[in-house]
Every structure is written in structure tokens, then in C-alpha cells.
Subunit: 113 residues, 2 copies
Amino acid sequence: MSEAGFAKTPEPPYYAVIFTSTRTRVDEGYGDVAARMVELASQQPGFLGVESTRGAEGLGITVSYWTTLEAIAAWKANAEHRIAQATGHRKWYEHFETRIARVERAYGGPKRT
Amino acid sequence: MSEAGFAKTPEPPYYAVIFTSTRTRVDEGYGDVAARMVELASQQPGFLGVESTRGAEGLGITVSYWTTLEAIAAWKANAEHRIAQATGHRKWYEHFETRIARVERAYGGPKRT
């Protein structure tokens, strides 16, 4: 059972930021900044983990997990993150939707016996 | 601004089922059943939309949106869905995590002016 790519989250409740996006054709440092944002997020108070993928057809979904809404607000306001957000809005994202949600129940599998 | 692949959800609150998975190497009807499950889910009471993607490295994230926890429970118990779940647990999924969350805030972008 491989768990690469999965966030190791505690028992609920905790919070999730679901970020769904499509990219423009503009690259200009996107990959480096995206990797840096994962590194920077993981150093923030209240960060629990992240799961992220983008399919060949271009739709990306990144879900980051946090202890509290306050931790999410602090990360959104982080200075280096704000610069990345502004750059993303200006040139990297065609469209995005951000949803902030309270995880109430969680289970994994499969349970093979 | 392309919105293909994005769920058109109403103002929060509503619920999200975040399903993160890695696949085995077994195909055996997976694509057809996955497509059928999206079709079937979209016919269920309380279904709001779905966003789904799987990257080249194998991690898949599917987020379905629902009006209530009761709608999610009814979909989980749907007979045809139960057969698909059992097959998925037995042969299609290497690992998965399911998280049920209450969406409290949502916004889209970018707002280019």
C-alpha cells in the first residue's frame, strides 16, 4: 500500500482549502513558485498536509489541510504567499475556485483482508 | 475564461466529499464504471457538481459537492454505487482517503480588470 502523495491528517475536525484551477499557457517560473509555496506552507503554524494533482487535460486540484480557520487566514496573508497569489492571478491561472471547508469525517482504505 | 471542469456550486454552506486515490495497475472496466458513477451521481437528489483530475504520477483527486450530509449518505448507499465501491476496493484502488467536509466559504477568480 503506497501512501505517497497523501496527507497524513489527524482525526477530524480540521479544515481543508480546496483549490481547483486551470492554467494559462504562461509558464514564467510557475513550477518553482508552486514548489516553493508547498515548502513555505508546510512551515506555517497549523499546516497539516497537502494533496495536489493536475491532469493531462489541464484541471488541477490542490487540497491543503489546516488545524483552524485562523491558520488558513494567516497563510493567506503571508507576505511571500501574497506575491505568489498576485502573480498567479495576473498570469498563471485561467480560472480558479477556492473553497474553505471543515472536515467532519474521514476514512481510508481499501481494507483488504 | 474557461470554466470546463469546474463545479457550479451555490453560495455556501454545502458539503464536499474529497476522494484522493492512487490506482492499481488493474484496468478491467475502470474507465467505464468511473464515467457511469459520475453520470449516476449527477442524477441523485442533492448533487451539486463534481471536479475530478488525475495526474501523470498517478494521484487522483475527485471532489463532489452535495446539499446535505443526508444526500451524501444516500449516494454512498446507492445499490449500483455500492457494487462499484466494492469492485474499487477489491481491485482498482491501491489506496484512498475519503474526507467529508462542510464548505463554509468560497470564491473564484482571477478578477482581471
